[in-house]
């Protein structure tokens, strides 16, 4: 099993890197989708099937679409996607910032109390998950639901407004 795991890990990291380094914006979104699929595979390996399918359904199905629409509607031109660093000074600053972020992340990972041994897959079945969601966390679920609905309505209003005030730019 560890061989399969290594392949999936490699694929996820590889596609994530390709997403960041790729020149064409659209291709990087597709690479991002591949890395999300890799993350779903990890959930499957960890035994949490429900989360894995939810991950595929939500990320691969919907969020990649939102990213595509975002890119399509706001894209200015093809070559602005990734401008080369203007000067050496900016390149150094970029490296320093990246190193700082990496350090913080590694520190958090190192100090978090992870169970060292591969513990048994968590035994929460879908039925148990359902009861928890409806029972203890019902309030949280409702709040998240309302939040997302408001976000959706906001987006629609923004898009609708955008249509009216856009000047009639005949070519």
């Amino acid at each position: 099993m560890s061989a399969a795991l290594a392949i999936v890990a490699l694929a996820t990291l590889g596609s994530a890197a390709a997403a960041m380094l790729g020149r064409s914006l659209l291709r990087s979104i597709f690479m991002l989708a591949v890395s999300w699929a890799g993350v779903a595979a990890f959930y499957m390996w960890a035994g949490a099937q429900f989360v894995a399918f939810a991950q595929v359904l939500i990320y691969l199905g919907a969020i990649s679409m939102v990213a595509l629409f975002a890119v399509l509607l706001t894209r200015q031109s093809r070559d602005e996607a990734s401008p080369p660093p203007a000067a050496l000074r900016r390149a150094i600053l970029a490296v320093v910032a990246a190193a700082g972020v990496a350090a913080v992340l590694l520190w958090a990972v190192a100090h978090s109390p992870l169970a060292v041994s591969g513990s048994l897959a968590p035994a929460t079945s879908v039925r148990q998950l359902g009861f928890d969601l409806m029972g203890r966390h019902a309030a949280a679920l409702l709040v998240v639901g309302v939040l997302l609905t408001i976000a959706l309505l906001g987006a629609v209003v923004l898009a609708a407004d955008g249509a009216q005030e856009r000047p009639g730019d005949e070519p």
Binding site: R75, Q76, S77, R78, D169, P171
Partner: protein
């Protein structure tokens, strides 16, 4: 350098075609539909400028099927142009022939035998049935039905074409009318099979309407689409079912009363909204009226000569003068304008093509509609490129 003398492909600078992305700066996407396109009824091209899905600008481009018909006719004899009129609106050769024959008869002052007038009315109404059935089939084909209505339409059309073939010798290129009458006399057996066809046509139309007219998707796709105002229709010179669907009750069979039409009782259906559904329904109702005319004509067709024996066909030299004659073809007013200088061939020969003139207002009907609608509107205009380009 390859043998054809062109530079090798690889050496050409970068991708020649402009990448689609550049055009996306502006919101408008220019799309060329045709001339090789599955739903443009022949070699017709629409350069459509789209804002998303809605049509912002539509430039019709035609002329791909121009065969210089009118100049050739100036060089050919009067009889020699008759077979070429079959190729104008190649779906309705009988009405093209009749309109041309009527023009030459008026120019040369030839009388037409009574039986021939009846036969001409019968053949014109059969052509109207054929054309309108095919129109409904093509309209649904553009609307996306995968061929079923079109196949039913062609099944009925074949029966009518069999009648034409057993009478004139060819299904579509009939070359049947002559100056002063018709070429061959319909036999009693032919008249009986024509009566049988006309009786069966009513039942076919009922089944066809059951499939189409009540169909919610068809109604949703055509009602309120491509609206044509009566004023624009009249000022643009639109004629035929499109004009009547826009609410103007102008039918040349009633106005001119040519070819014994006053002897038959029939009504002219009028549309209210002038949209694509009205154009479809007006044609369906016209078919039912044509069935009525056919029954009356087939019932009391007189005996007698089919062709006026004194009428001169070959070396016809009508006296100098000009004439414009018109008939109510299935697509609209098809007219012929002839100027004769007394010689064996016409000095000027002009065809009034109803398809072309109905097509000029395509952009007015398509503005603001979606690209899928522009295809259905083009289908409802009912054009045949042979007549548009001549």
């Amino acid at each position: 350098m390859n043998p054809s003398g062109l530079p090798p492909l690889a050496s050409l600078p970068g991708p020649q075609i402009r990448a689609v992305h550049d055009e996306l700066h502006g919101d408008l996407l220019e799309l060329s539909m045709g001339p090789h396109h599955p739903s443009t009824h022949g070699v017709f091209r629409m350069v459509v400028t789209l804002d998303g899905e809605t049509v912002v600008k539509l430039k019709p481009v035609f002329g791909y099927l121009h065969r210089n018909h009118e100049k050739i006719a100036e060089g050919a004899s009067y009889l020699g142009s008759m077979p070429y009129t079959d190729r104008l609106d190649y779906l309705c050769s009988m009405t093209n022939n009749w309109s041309y024959a009527l023009a030459v008869e008026r120019l040369a002052g030839q009388a037409v035998s009574e039986r021939a007038e009846y036969v001409r009315v019968i053949l014109a109404e059969l052509t109207r049935l054929l054309n309108h059935t095919c129109l409904a089939g093509f309209l649904l084909q553009d609307g996306g039905a995968s061929g079923t209505p079109l196949m039913y339409a062609f099944r009925e059309r074949e029966k009518i074409l069999d009648l034409f073939e057993s009478l004139s010798g060819s299904r579509m290129m009939c070359n049947y009318q002559r100056f002063g009458g018709c070429r061959a006399d319909p036999s009693p057996a032919w008249l009986d099979s024509a009566r049988a066809l006309v009786d069966g046509y009513g039942r076919f139309l009922d089944e066809y309407e059951a499939l189409l007219t009540g169909n919610e998707i068809l109604m949703a796709r055509t009602q309120g689409i491509g609206r044509l105002s009566p004023q624009l229709a009249v000022s643009a010179g639109v004629t035929g079912p499109m004009l009547r669907a826009a609410g103007v009750g102008y039918d040349i069979r009633k106005v001119d009363g040519y070819g014994f039409y006053p002897r038959f009782t029939f009504r002219v259906p009028i549309g209210a909204d002038g949209d694509t559904y009205d154009r479809y329904m007006v044609r369906i109702l016209e078919m039912r009226e044509s069935i009525g005319i056919l029954r009356q004509a087939l019932r009391d067709i007189p005996a007698g000569p089919i062709l006026d024996p004194k009428a001169k066909q070959r070396g016809l030299r009508p006296k100098a003068g000009e004439v414009y004659s018109r008939i109510e073809g299935p697509k609209g007013e098809i007219g012929f304008f002839l100027i004769s200088d007394g010689g064996p061939n016409p000095y000027r020969y002009r065809v009034r093509p109803p398809s072309l003139i109905n097509l000029t207002i395509l952009e007015d009907m398509c503005l603001g509609q979606s690209i899928a609608d522009s295809v259905v509107i083009l289908g409802s205009v009912d054009i045949v490129l042979g007549e548009v380009d001549r």
